[in-house]
Symmetry: C2
Subunit: 484 residues, 2 copies
Amino acid sequence: MASSIDHPMPATTWGLALQLQDPPKGPVSLRIARGIVQEIERGRLRPGDQLPGTRKLATQLGVHRKTIIAGFLELERQGWITSSPAKGTFVSLELPETAPEPQRLPARSSLPPLEATAHEQLILSGGGPELSILPRAALARAWRRALLGRSSARLLDHGNPRGEPRLRQALADLLIRNRGVRAIPDNLNVVRGTQHGIYLAVRALLQPGDCVAIEALHHPSLRGIFQLAGVKLLPVPLDDDGLDVDALDLLCTHNRVKAVYTTPHHQLPTSVTLSGQRRVRLLELARRRGLMVFEDDYDNEFQYEGTPVLPLAFSDRSGAVVYFGSMSAILAPGLRLGFIASSPEIAERIARYRTFVDQQGDQILESAVAELIEDGELERHVRRARRLYRARRDELVQALDRHVPGLVFDVPRGGMAIWVQAPGVDADAWARRAHAAGVSFQPASHFALEEPPCDFARLGFSACSEAQLNEAAQILGRTMLARG
Amino acid sequence: MASSIDHPMPATTWGLALQLQDPPKGPVSLRIARGIVQEIERGRLRPGDQLPGTRKLATQLGVHRKTIIAGFLELERQGWITSSPAKGTFVSLELPETAPEPQRLPARSSLPPLEATAHEQLILSGGGPELSILPRAALARAWRRALLGRSSARLLDHGNPRGEPRLRQALADLLIRNRGVRAIPDNLNVVRGTQHGIYLAVRALLQPGDCVAIEALHHPSLRGIFQLAGVKLLPVPLDDDGLDVDALDLLCTHNRVKAVYTTPHHQLPTSVTLSGQRRVRLLELARRRGLMVFEDDYDNEFQYEGTPVLPLAFSDRSGAVVYFGSMSAILAPGLRLGFIASSPEIAERIARYRTFVDQQGDQILESAVAELIEDGELERHVRRARRLYRARRDELVQALDRHVPGLVFDVPRGGMAIWVQAPGVDADAWARRAHAAGVSFQPASHFALEEPPCDFARLGFSACSEAQLNEAAQILGRTMLARG
């Protein structure tokens, strides 16, 4: 662990090496970042070596200093370099890829490869919220009030593993008002985002060796959670009406299935909605077979047309549904907040398990967000976001029609992404070509447990401006077919 | 889940029942709380019933309204009642004790029984920080700056599971400066408190069936973590020099011990410090036997006399030490923040595991606390707290000498609690008597895996004023011996 940062390497040698990158591909900041990684991999930059200043490097390479900073920031996020305001920027003493892959940990599939998180990249993956419209000033005021207000001694102390009662009450009111889910504070658990909620539920409710049915296409980070808990996943086919309930029924005949995981509102990744008939049959099946239904309603708020679709939890009479909601998807991924509505018995098991995992949530933040709900700020924000995302969906639809001839897709009535088919195109190869040209998106293989439908992909639109969506569609059109 | 809150029960019947409590024991707010619980258990108050208003009840019982509010708050924290500003206070639809005890979850020993968390109770358990001296205004300003500043888009987004780089850098600087631990951002993991850190480390580094040696007396919440991971705990004896390293060596001869958990600085609960000779031998043993050393340095800052004791991590050359530090113990338990310093390989495993558990920490809070460290606010706060706790230790020592004759103890040179022996007294029974008289403390049995030394107890002093400590000592003196 001893530092060797006192012998900076000459910046000129290294600057020259970077310029040799040829042919130029992708945004400049990424080419610089890639160049630095290559220099490290070649051993020309060693752990502890100092990098030249951003100003100097910008002059040397003839680019704007911001571009260098963006490249450095990316490298720092990925652990290649570390920087300190006073001392400068150095190659990390321990580099990302030198860490041995532990045997029993699943691949960290939720973390994108080097280029995917870069700043100039047009990112259609994920479909996260637009951060610029977050009501930051209101949130900062509410946080300050929670910290300095009359409940602060309680909020700063050990508390309830189920979450701050004020937020649970606010969420219960919101759920009854907007989604018809009859929640009360006693059957809610506030958690730190859907991932955390599912982790806790899986650990608290399932045993190693249990089987869980899951939509054949799903968010890949789920797999690791189930795998760590020793739970076997069984894929269930999907079609235009969502999860195939007959297939699930058959699966249950041949396996001891304990729970089914589903995203009925806007299926992730296909954005299809579970049909009314199947909703009824799924709940009936769950009751008959004693299945738990993990309903992940991650983007309930974002329905643009048609009558609102109520959660399965709305119709559940048997207490089978464990309902996951996300505040991170509404506000910001960095504000880790979500909730689980379930039977009081399940809520209690999850809370007990949580005391061992991380004891409790961030009570000050929970109280602050409760205030945003109470005074209507959150619903105003959701309305703004909904208008914005609808306009972005429409823009992407038009831009795809214009620039990507041959692409097949239904216009989703809600959600944050469009599921597209490029008939006959290898979507993985397309994603690689688009990526090199500056657009990131996720091909179907990203979401598949077994053999994926190879010419499908998911294009998220919520976090890109209309201009960016247009530019992205042009690049998608240019890269869809391999040249040759 | 249907609510039955529209038929409030007459307040008078119920008010009368409360007054029948006899003989009066403990603070009034707690007697009221206990009375309500008894009414619920007797079935006279049913789930969904509305409770009378605090004003009305205060008048009726002839006590101050604040006392009623304190009782209600306690009941709400424990899940017996729920309240909503607009509607009033109701008996919870699902009561705490009606939830079935899940088979495979360990007892939630970290949660105190009904009376232990009440407001009038003088609490010598735990030894948490004094919340009134927290620099709240500075923290709120720093949080606001993080949320509105130029890094906010990054902080609000998905981030590094190891924690915000700015905080890791600030912690690394602090650790080198104050504890001689050569940390760099690459071998630090920011976590949500020590409990969370140990959970992640146990899950990421140990396998079901592994054995872990643990100080025979330890914080009881640890047991659940190891138990959930299928890890077997083997107690190691303690004496005035801390962990008995010879006994540990012998234990390793007969068992495949993978790690040892220790609190060498101020052993929890005994407050003894691991001697210099044993420190050297423990590290030598760890190297020789390939043991990991989980060093929990939860209150490093609070040393009042003598030369500062450096962590084992300071002397570790082999990468065996996994070093846990707490910010929650310095700032506030409700601000869940801690860190782990370890070898880069271990740091990477823990970070990977974390991506499945809760993805990442609270980056805005992490950035805000980094600012408090950078501008010296945190160290100023620690100096204030240290002066305060030393004065409180001295006050408790004097008060015990004055009011509890026969009590045997060493004055600890640091830490947040005094470990006392009441020769021949059953400490469990003493704790129950003291509790009924308004003082909470933890007898040795609370910390013991096997047979406890039955006449020892831990008296925390850090979170009580000098007047409270004095009053508590008087009650301790009165209750030490059973009457009869």
